[in-house]
Amino acid sequence: MTSILQLIDVYKYFDGSKVINGIDLSVSLGEKHALIGPNGAGKSTIFNLITGRYSVSRGRILFKGRNIAGLPPHKISHLGIARSFQIINVFKDMTVFENVRNAIVARHGHSLSIFSLIGNLRGIREETDCLLERIHLTPVQRELAGTLPYGQQRALEIGLTIALDPELILLDEPTAGMTPGETREVIKLIRETTQGKTLMIVEHDMEVVFDLADRISVIHLGKNVTTATPEEIRQNVTVKGIYLGSSSYCPEI
C-alpha cells in the first residue's frame, strides 16, 4: 500500500529531555490509523510535530513524499493535513455558523481577501450550511460556540477539521471527557465524515480504537513499539506489558 505519511527517525527534545525518541511510523493512504499508549508517551507531541505546532529536532516527516518538517502550520494545513485538538479549540466568542464559515473561507483561500464582503462570497453560505447539517449543529448555528454543551463543542471541533476537506485528518482524543452516549454519537460522526479519507486518531477509549482503526501503533517512551492490526495488538505480549506495567489503565487488553 502506498503510504501518505511517513515519520522517519524523528526526534523531539524539550530542554534536553527526549520526548520523541527516534520514531518511525507509516500511515497508508485511506486507512484509519490509531495511536495508543500510556499518558505521556508522546502521542499528542507526534500530532504537534506533523502539523507544525512544534518544530522537529531531528528526522524527516514525509507527506505524499514531500518533507514537511519545519514548515509553518498554515502551509502544512494547505497541503492537506487538518487536525482537531485534545482540548477544545474553537472560536468560543463567535457563533457556530461563523466558526464553520471561518474554516470554509480558509479552505477556499479567501481568508485575506479585501475586495469583497464576506457575506457576498459565492457558495460560502451554502457550503457552511451543508457542513453544519453534516455535524448536526444546524439548530444551534446562531449560538456562541462557547455556550454549547460539551458534546456539541466536540462535534464543532471535528467540524472545523473536516471543513478544510483534508486528505489526512488528525483527531486528538475526540471523545475525551464525554459520556458513553456522547461518545457513540461522535464515533458515528467520525465514521460518516471521514469516509474515504486517511485518518489518524489518538484515543484512550480502547473500545473506540478497536472498533474504528484498521491499524494501530503503540507508542511508548517516544518510540513506536509496534504497528499492527487490532487483532494482532490484542494478542501482543509486549503491549500488554506496557499497559499493565505502567499503570492499571485499560485492563481490557
Binding site: 502550520p73 498554515h74 474554516a103 485575506l112 479585501i114 462570497l121
Partner: protein
C-alpha cells in the same frame, strides 16, 4: 424595531454633524473638527486593539508620518492639490505600518506591545533630529491663504473654519465607512478570528502574520489620513504629534469610550477633547485629574462609556 432605532440614531447624528456649524460658535466648531479627526485616528487604532486584539503603544507614529508628509508637500509644492497631499499622508502611514509590522508582528502579546514603544520613539527621534527636513523641535508651519478648488462648488479658503469643517467631515465619514466595510471583508473576519483564537486560525491554513501585516498597513493608512487632516486644522507640525504621549492619548480615548465597537472611539474622542479643554481651564495640573479618571475607568468599567450605556440598556430591558 431595533433596526429602525439604529437607523434613526445614525440619521440624527448625521443631521447634528451637518448643522453643527450653524448651531455653535467658532470655538466649539474648532473643537468638533478636532474631535472628528481624532475619531478617525481612534478608529484606526480600534481596528488593531478592539477588532484584532493587538495593543500598540506606538500608534502616533503613523499619525505623525501622515502629518509630516502632508505639511512637507504643502510647504515645498505650493501648487499641489491638498487631496494629493492628504492621500500621500495616508500612504506614508501605510508604508510605516507595513515596515514596522514586518519587524514586529512575529512578536506576540506583551513583547509586541513593548516593541511598538521602541519603534514609535524611533520615528519620533527621527522627526526631532532631522532638522533640515522636519524643522526639529520648532516643527513646520503652513502659510495661510491657500485656496482649495472643489469641482462643481468652486474655490474655497482653506482657513475658512466652515469649509474646513465640512471638508474634514466628508473625508472622515468616507474613512469611517471604509473602515467599517473593512471589518466585513473576509480579511476583517479573519482578523476577528485571530482575536478570538489565533492558534486555531493558523491551523485552518491562514497565514496570520500576513493578515496582521495587511491590517497594519490599512490601519496605518487611516492613522496617516487623520494626521494629514490635523495639519489642515492646525497648520503646523511638531515632533509632539508623534511622541509617546500622543500614542497614550489614543489609548486614553479608546478606554474612555470603550473599544468593543465603532461607536466607542468616536465617543472617546469627544469626551477626551472636551475633558481636556475644561480641565485645563480650571487647573494646569489637569493631567493629574485625567490620569485619575483613566485609572478609575480601567478599574470600574473597562468597557468604557459605551460599556456603561450598553449594560444600563440591557438592565432596563430586563426589567
Amino acid at each position: 424595531m431595533r433596526r429602525y432605532l439604529s437607523e434613526s440614531v445614525v440619521f440624527l447624528v448625521l443631521a447634528a454633524l451637518v448643522s453643527y456649524p450653524y448651531i455653535v460658535g467658532k470655538f466649539h466648531l474648532y473643537l468638533m473638527t478636532e474631535i472628528i479627526i481624532f475619531s478617525i485616528f481612534c478608529i484606526s487604532f480600534y481596528l488593531l486593539l478592539g477588532h484584532t486584539g493587538l495593543l500598540s503603544f506606538g500608534h502616533a507614529a503613523y499619525f505623525g508620518l501622515g502629518a509630516y508628509c502632508t505639511i512637507l508637500l504643502l510647504v515645498h509644492f505650493p501648487h499641489i492639490s491638498i487631496f494629493i497631499a492628504i492621500v500621500a499622508g495616508g500612504i506614508l502611514g501605510l508604508l510605516g505600518g507595513v515596515i514596522i509590522g514586518l519587524m514586529l508582528l512575529r512578536l506576540t502579546r506583551v513583547y509586541f506591545s513593548l516593541a511598538t514603544v521602541a519603534f514609535g520613539q524611533m520615528i519620533w527621534a527621527i522627526a526631532w533630529k532631522w532638522r533640515s527636513l522636519t524643522g526639529g523641535d520648532d516643527g513646520l508651519v503652513l502659510k495661510s491663504g491657500r485656496k482649495v478648488f472643489i469641482p462643481l462648488l468652486g474655490h474655497f479658503e482653506l482657513n475658512n473654519p466652515f469649509f474646513l469643517y465640512y471638508l474634514i467631515l466628508v473625508i472622515s465619514l468616507a474613512s469611517v465607512i471604509f473602515c467599517w466595510l473593512f471589518t466585513k471583508t473576509p480579511l476583517g473576519n479573519t482578523l476577528a478570528s485571530i482575536k478570538s483564537n489565533a492558534n486555531r486560525t493558523q491551523f485552518l491554513g491562514v497565514n496570520i502574520y500576513l493578515a496582521k501585516l495587511m491590517l497594519f498597513g490599512f490601519s496605518g493608512f487611516f492613522a496617516g489620513i487623520s494626521g494629514s487632516l490635523y495639519i489642515l486644522l492646525e497648520r503646523m507640525v511638531s515632533p509632539g504629534l508623534l511622541d509617546m504621549f500622543m500614542s497614550f492619548d489614543v489609548i486614553i480615548m479608546s478606554v474612555l469610550g470603550g473599544y468593543s465597537n465603532f461607536v466607542g472611539p468616536v465617543i472617546g474622542s469627544f469626551i477626551y477633547v472636551y475633558l481636556v479643554e475644561y480641565l485645563s481651564s480650571f487647573t494646569d495640573k489637569w493631567q493629574l485629574i485625567l490620569g485619575a479618571i483613566f485609572i478609575a475607568l480601567i478599574l470600574f468599567c473597562p468597557n468604557g462609556l459605551v460599556g456603561i450605556l450598553k449594560s444600563s440598556i440591557i438592565k432596563r430591558s430586563m426589567r
